[in-house]
Amino acid sequence: MARRVAICAVAQTTWERNKWQERFQGMAIDVLDSLRKQTGVDFARKLQKQKKKKPGINMTISVSDDLFDARTISNNAMTDVLGGHFGCEEKVAQEGLQAIYYGLAAIQSGHNDIVLIMGHCKESQGQSRNMVTHVAFDPFYTRPVGLDFCAAAGLQAQAYGAKAGLTDQQLADIVVRARKNAALNPNIKELPQVTAAEVLNSAMLADPIRQLHAYPVSDGAVGMILAAEEIAVKITDKPVWITGVGNSMDSFFLGDRELTSNAALKQAAARAYKRAGIQDPRKAFDLLEVSDQYAYQLPMWLEGLGLCDEGKGPEWMQAGNLDKQHVNMSGGMLAGNPMILGGLVRAAEAALQLRGEAGDRQVAKAKRALAHGVMGPAGQFHTVAILARD
């Protein structure tokens, strides 16, 4: 039996359109201070010097994107606040939820006992988020036609809309609900409430995606402390166990994929469910946090996660299941998290719920939750993590 691993503390900054007054490091240090205060743990190297027996953080996993940071090896400049000097450091440049996978593996292997995860991103610093994601495409076949993640999402949204019969009104309802939920989330700032009519009248970006269907440009940082069971129970009285993680990557070229098949997400979910011993995902979770970068993705990803039948996402939503199943009580990604941190924030939100610390958005007696992260054009890569409390 592998070691049990728990999220022992989570912390995040507020999520804003432009934290012009904050450096990456400044955002991260606020998060680190909170994590240390919550758990009382310090970095192991300092403690060894003091010859104390108290366990410390012996691995740091950073999450950041080189192009959003406009510097290569974007974790290098963060090491002082990550405790990475003379410590063990690792970086995730994929989706932030992957850091939980790395941390889980590092602890289960016995190499490390306490892992710090720290993700940061300021999407506001680049002239345009689309210019950054454009460079994810190859220079010969897909970049020349102007592809970026928004255009790729447009292609997928069109295909999914045609398959599942998703209407403009339903898309508007998703956005209205996300913002209503976000109003109860004190970490979300500067996100005005909108009416369905306002969403329906917002400009088209890439048909059928409208301006208000897209997640807002966001800045912020999020972090966690993971620990092996024997330590976790000492540093927190509310450990949140990571019971299963799975991921899956689809083809690079959009034309190689069936854009509405959810092929990668289904595999990621199946792997996570198997590891967590989940038979029926429709009855398994008290809440779900899903990375909806664009409104159409919410019903589509929920189909891929097996919460409803294929092509039935819109009907399932219409029947009020988003509220019944407590999907994205935080507001989801539509309330604004940087792309690379979406899944990690989802896991942080799920952990807060399971710890009973979710304030006005708290789901009563939440015991098991799902967190989902996505990266790459039109959902190329997915991570699913299952979290539970005893």
Binding site: F140, V145, G154, A203
Partner: protein, 299 residues
């Protein structure tokens, strides 16, 4: 702690890195063929039979080396998905709004993403057949195809109603004002220079008191009804009978109406009732026609 913009600043920067991308030997062959021969090539996996465009040297499913299995795919294909890009970014090759489509080329299994022009944005649909328009200036990228445009449709031969499509009670009409010019031209066409049509002084002494049109002139207005409307193009008129009821004066507006009254099953012919009226709703003439409706044209 509060921070004001006057004691805290940002600087403008730019991440720009001149770079050379290597196309690879497989990619180069694809791009050279596109550039020099205007031919689009794909690579086929012999194991799973999938033809890949853009090219790659290894099948992503079977991990077979497919780098030598070149096949030519067509310059035409079908749109399997699309979006309309309406936001503007510096990396876009054309000014928005433009259509970005997934185009499955004939002979390939993996659609490529490319620009579609020549379709109204509101009329864009999946399933559209398109063909490549090659660029005048080569860039040795996929933009050696400048864009895709809808396949020129073979002009469809228009045809009237067939016997089976015709129903009793269907009717059609044609209306025209008869001018002095019409009458003089008709005189020339028919050789009928009767002074009652052309000589006002002579005509004053006839029961009509002024010049009138040839009877066959308003009668001929049934021809566009039968030949172009009902049954329409492809109809052969077999018999037309007319009884004249009132004269047509210069400036009269005549309406000719044809109505299907009988379907002759044995010969697959149709009998039609004909009526001509003027602007005062007076009956100018009436009659019948026997017509052979068009038969479907062979492809």
């Amino acid at each position: 702690m509060t921070t004001a913009k006057d004691n805290c600043f940002t600087v403008e920067g730019k991440l720009a890195l001149p770079y050379q991308y290597f196309a690879g030997s497989t990619g180069s062959r694809f791009l050279i063929s596109l550039r020099d021969e205007k031919k689009i090539k794909g690579l086929e996996c012999k194991k799973c039979k999938k033809v890949f465009v853009p090219p790659r040297s290894t099948c992503e499913v079977c991990f077979e080396d497919i780098s030598q299995n070149w096949v030519e795919v067509k310059n035409s294909g079908v749109v399997t998905g699309f979006t309309i890009v309406r936001y503007e970014e510096p990396h876009q090759p054309v000014k928005p709004p433009y259509i970005l489509g997934l185009i499955k080329l004939d002979g390939a299994d993996t659609p490529i993403t490319h620009i579609i022009k020549g379709v109204p944005l509101t009329k864009m649909k999946t399933g559209l057949k398109v063909q490549a328009v090659f660029a005048k200036n080569t860039t040795a990228t996929i933009l050696d195809i400048d864009h895709f445009k809808p396949m020129a449709e073979k002009p469809k031969m228009e045809m009237g109603y067939t016997y089976d499509e015709l129903e009793i009670g269907m009717s059609a009409s044609f209306t025209k004002t008869i001018s002095e010019t019409d009458v003089y031209l008709f005189a020339g066409i028919s050789g009928d220079f009767n002074p009652m049509h052309l000589n006002e002084e002579f005509a004053k002494r006839t029961p009509f008191g002024t010049r009138i049109a040839h009877g066959a002139l308003p009668q001929s207005l049934i021809a566009p009804v039968l030949g172009m409307k009902l049954p329409g193009l492809g109809t052969v008129a077999l018999e037309i009978t007319v009884r004249f009821k009132a004269p047509t004066y210069f400036g009269d507006t005549i309406t000719a109406v044809g109505e299907v009254v009988e379907k002759l099953e044995k010969r697959r012919w149709v009998r039609m009732a004909l009526r001509w009226t003027n602007q005062k709703d007076e009956l100018v003439a009436e009659g019948t026609a026997l017509v052979m409706p068009p038969v479907p044209l062979p492809e």
